[in-house]
Amino acid sequence: MHPRAPRPELFGPAVFARPAPLAALLVLVVNDHVLKGAGVLPGWLTGKLSDVAGLFFFPVLLAHLAGRFAAQRRRVAQLSVLCTGLVFALLKVWPAAAAIASRLWGVVVCDSSDLLTLPALVAAYLYLRRPAAPRVDVAGARTRWFHRGAVLAAGWASLATSPAPRPPFVAWQIQAGAVHRAGCGRVTVWIAKSGKSGVGVGIARVDGAGEGASCRLVLERATLEVAGQRIETSAQLPGLPVESRSGYLPFLFDNEAAWNAGDRAAVLLLELSASGERAVVRLPLLQAWQRGEPPAPPTPNPGPVFIVPQGDAGADPWVEQAP
């Protein structure tokens, strides 16, 4: 055998049971499905790690697949490395190609700095061209099935990538706690909707066990002060009873214009009657980018799920009561 001839066993299923391809496969799977987004390693590192592992692994996979049908295995090894490099470079410099690939098998980031990982192809080529090692016994039926399973797993790992991050969006958020005292009762207030045409506020009563049973809460007026304007809710007021069942207060205004003008702070003013006594709940609002997971499914009790940053979630309620 020629000392630099490709190793025959690299073109059989046994290749995926060998240490180097197996290690690359493990790095791909663990990095894509565990490490990415976990915050254990920096984002740039997890991105490059997959690229390096993939650039080593894919030529081996290609060589295995093509080597079954081609006699010239040395040429197969060269073409496998070349094709992997070309497709990788195409995905990294051509946005349309990255977008198509994203549709087909998950998020592919078009980042030309990833081309720095291309030298991993040299390692793949050297691995495919290493002198022959003792052959792996593939005669046993169990071993054959193991190797076929390894090929399938390799194919799956090649296609599966980590899930896409959730999209960012702009929404109003309440800069205060979740529960607010209003005279003899307590209410919870949350942003239920937020969009170009305004903001919708949810309100519900959240009295504890045996608390405020005789207290009757009625919403008399709800206003939103934004961009120097005082906007009244379009809900039927006054006289809206506040109960444990959610109420909804829409505030209609040109929120897009307010955002574009840089007016991103507002004050929500709720005037209530608590068993005849006047109570005012005043809440500061801020409109900002929301990143990460969308709001979790709502829980029936005691309060809504807020889309405020974690740091604000535990803040003391800011309650303003009329004397």
Binding site: A96, C110, A164, A192, G195, G198, A204, Y248, N255, P295
Partner: protein, 196 residues
């Protein structure tokens, strides 16, 4: 010299970052605020819907193709075309949430211009310059323009069809020849995206 320019263009194209810069303008999403979320109980928080986006895409890169020249005063035969191209396009995207599924969204529709130079081609000293008006839909594009060869003092229409990085180009230079090339066009791109 021309070879150096073309090689440099390829290097610059492959090194230039593909990035979409998201602008803040019109950022709030779409929500039917007048209508209460359904169901009203238990308490519901409804994220805004994606309004789609506007986008300006500036891209630069290089093309390389092979084909043939025929039917003119100059002798025809197998031909090729290699050179740089810069494009500016204004389009619309189905999503502004570029972090969500498509880091670099394909524009569903766009209009733009391409300025290019077939620096290396068969039998011409300098190679023609061209300016095209382009229409894009998804990954497909069609462009019509005019080409000028300063060295030959000829000019004529040019049409280009593309699907992703693959292109087909027909050039007619009056008094010279017709030329057809098929090849690969690779570009780095910088995009600016804002909400509709």
């Amino acid at each position: 010299m021309r070879q150096t320019i073309v090689v440099c263009t390829f290097v610059v194209a492959s090194a230039s970052a593909c990035a979409v810069h998201r602008l803040d303008r019109n950022a709030p999403g779409v929500a039917d605020v007048e209508v209460a979320p359904q169901p009203t109980s238990p308490r519901v928080v409804e994220p805004p819907r994606d309004p789609g986006g506007n986008m300006v895409l500036l891209s630069a890169g290089a093309f390389a193709g092979i084909g043939g020249a025929f039917g003119g005063d100059k002798e025809g035969g197998a031909s090729y075309g290699v050179g740089p191209e810069i494009s500016l396009a204004r389009g619309w995207t189905p999503s502004t949430r570029i972090d969500a599924f498509f880091p670099y969204p394909i524009m569903e529709r766009a209009f733009g211009v391409n300025l290019g130079w077939t620096a290396l081609t068969r039998g011409l000293t300098m190679g023609p310059l061209y300016l095209e008006a382009e229409y894009r839909e998804s990954i497909f594009s069609a462009a019509l323009g005019w080409t000028v060869s300063p060295s030959e003092k000829t000019h004529g229409p040019q049409a280009t069809l593309a699907a992703g990085p693959l292109y087909f180009r027909f050039t007619h230079e009056f008094g010279l020849w017709n030329q057809i090339t098929v090849g690969l066009l690779l570009k780095g791109a910088q995009g600016w995206l804002w909400s509709k």
